[in-house]
């Protein structure tokens, strides 16, 4: 028989510490749906998504019941639409509407992949897709968009940064009546992973199989509770505690992924080892850092504790699953984390510190509300800064900032649900326009002589 304490520990994790599977995401390739006639292409896209994912929600719910593990989201990621729409030579917005309709038909809450990969330049269809993002996000509810503007191997496409600065602003402007939510469904990446199950940045890379299941685990509450049991332990002991906890969390993700892939008859892709917070009390990454010994997240020592946390989560998780991928690390979205919201409101956490934190964890400047009058060029420069961190450190970084149109520092945007609410944060008000308007490509960094 299984050890009684182990059973009770698992139940406590689920019942009291918010342990859950954050998402089961089905990746679907749309390469076989390409057609010069956009109506035919959209019909093929709808047919393929509704065929592949017809049982996704049901299987997810069955597993939830049988294993007693909450599975919060069932989602879909697809091939970057810029690749599919390139042959059509017209606005790709009908694809966004088709994705939205297909997502609604199969019952998933978000579908990712209204995306373009332009790290080295724009190919046919890329620029048209990027320019259509604000409209696509405003006229759909479930579609998420992402654009990769840089990588370690190619450098950073500064023209794309400039364009994305405008697109992020416009996405917010077009959705003022929905609290600028359009911008919350748009991520700008450097080194974007092709198998990421987490929204809004999920897309199904072209090197992936036709259809696949990826799982994203969560559990900041469990890690915090585990750390809380050792108030006097050294930091190396704390790292060990986190590793062991991450192992258990990941094993659960591995189990759910294996069962889901068997039942759906689809290969199992990866487990994304992430600590994904929610605004719920007891489900915060910032509170783990505070439990380790910071008075408030954002103070001196935050980067060091976060680096240790992120590394320990990966070490524990890697041992637990042979299929690791996606973003894998601790997420620090401001509006989605009760501790981060508190820290930002109290003035302890500022955007510069957040930027430093993103150098040691996944993913980037995430769910940060910025003043409504922020110029597009400043947003572009934020994107360039963040991409530079990713490019030089050979890691994924991303920017998901929400220009809070009509609001200023001190105001708050409330999105509700898992997206939470975020205080508008102060930015540096000096201009970066001349730099951004130079355009061109920041060359790829040297991989030796590292200092």
């Amino acid at each position: 028989m299984i050890n009684v304490n182990d059973i009770l520990e698992t139940i406590r994790m689920i019942q009291d510490e918010n342990l859950d599977i954050r998402t089961i995401t089905m990746g679907i390739s749309l390469l076989d749906c390409i057609d010069a006639d956009i109506d035919k292409a959209c019909a093929k896209v709808y047919e393929k998504i509704t065929r592949c994912a017809k049982d996704l929600v049901k299987v997810g719910e069955d597993i939830e019941r049988e294993y007693g593990i909450p599975i919060i989201n069932k989602r879909i990621s697809v091939t970057p639409i810029a690749i599919v729409s390139a042959a059509c030579n017209q606005s790709p917005v009908p694809f966004a509407k088709t994705l939205d309709k297909a997502a609604e038909a199969v019952g998933v809450n978000l579908i990712g992949g209204y995306s373009a990969l332009v790290q080295k330049g724009f190919s046919a269809g890329d620029e048209a897709l990027i320019r259509s993002i604000p409209e696509a996000l405003a006229c759909t509810t479930r579609v998420c968009s992402s654009v990769n503007i840089g990588s370690t191997k190619t450098g950073i496409n500064l023209d794309a940064c400039k364009l994305m600065g405008q697109v992020v602003r416009e996405a917010a402007e077009r959705t003022v009546d929905q609290k600028c939510f359009g911008a919350a469904k748009l991520v700008v990446f450097c080194n974007a992973p092709e198998d990421n199950p987490f929204m809004a940045g999920a897309f199904h890379g072209v090197g992936e199989p036709d259809c696949i299941i990826n799982v994203g685990v969560s559990g900041p509450g469990v890690v915090r509770a585990a750390v809380a049991k050792y108030p006097d332990a050294s930091i190396s002991e704390i790292a060990d505690v986190i590793k062991k906890t991450a192992f258990k969390i990941t094993r659960m993700g591995q189990l759910v992924g294996t069962v889901a892939s068997e039942r759906l008859g689809v290969p199992f892709g990866i487990v994304d080892l992430s600590l994904a917070p929610t605004p719920a009390v007891g489900d915060s990454v910032a509170h783990i850092l505070e439990e380790i010994g910071l008075e408030k997240c954002g103070t001196h020592g935050t980067t060091a504790t976060l680096a240790m946390l992120n590394d320990a989560v990966k070490k524990g998780g890697v041992m637990a699953s042979s299929r690791i991928g996606g973003l894998s690390g601790a997420f620090i979205p401001v509006s989605e984390d009760a501790g981060m919201i508190d820290a930002a409101k109290s003035g302890s956490l500022c955007i510069e510190k957040l930027e430093a934190m993103t150098a040691v964890c996944s993913v980037g400047l995430d769910m940060i509300c910025v003043p409504g009058d922020t110029p597009a060029d400043t947003i572009a420069a934020i994107i360039a800064d963040e991409a530079a961190i990713g490019m030089v450190n050979f890691k994924t970084t991303a920017v998901r900032v929400i220009p809070a149109i009509g609001c200023d520092v001190g105001d708050e945007l409330s999105f509700g649900g898992l997206f939470g609410s975020g205080p508008v944060m102060k930015l540096n008000s000096f201009s970066s326009s001349k730099f951004i308007n130079r355009g061109g490509q920041i060359p790829a960094p040297l991989q030796s002589l590292k200092n």
């Binding site: 028989m1 299984i2 009684v4 139940i11 294993y67 007693g68 041992m319």
Partner: protein, 89 residues
């Protein structure tokens, strides 16, 4: 398939009997039972073979949950594999 049935709550008379009555009703074979009392909290764990059950898993687990609510206890039915995979290398 084997299920782990956990009953946690305040100790009262007849909990074991009530849970096992439902198992018998649905033809779930109880293989092992263990119970501990931590302070005044009662924790009982049952391992049951549920391959030959008369009903599906969902109905069985809902019946147990309903009993839990009625008795003011937390009763959960979960697949054994969850615990095996989380706590064993």
């Amino acid at each position: 398939m084997r299920a782990v049935i956990t009953v946690i709550g305040k100790d009262t008379v007849g909990i074991l009997a009530k849970v096992s009555a439902i198992c018998a009703e649905y033809n779930a074979n109880i293989i092992d039972v263990t119970q501990t009392v931590m302070q005044d909290l009662f924790a009982m764990i049952m391992l049951a073979q549920i391959d030959k059950m008369k009903t599906d898993f969902t109905a069985f687990s809902q019946e147990m949950e309903a009993l839990g609510k009625e008795q003011n206890l937390s009763i959960r039915v979960m697949h054994e594999d969850l615990f095996q995979s989380m706590h064993k290398i």
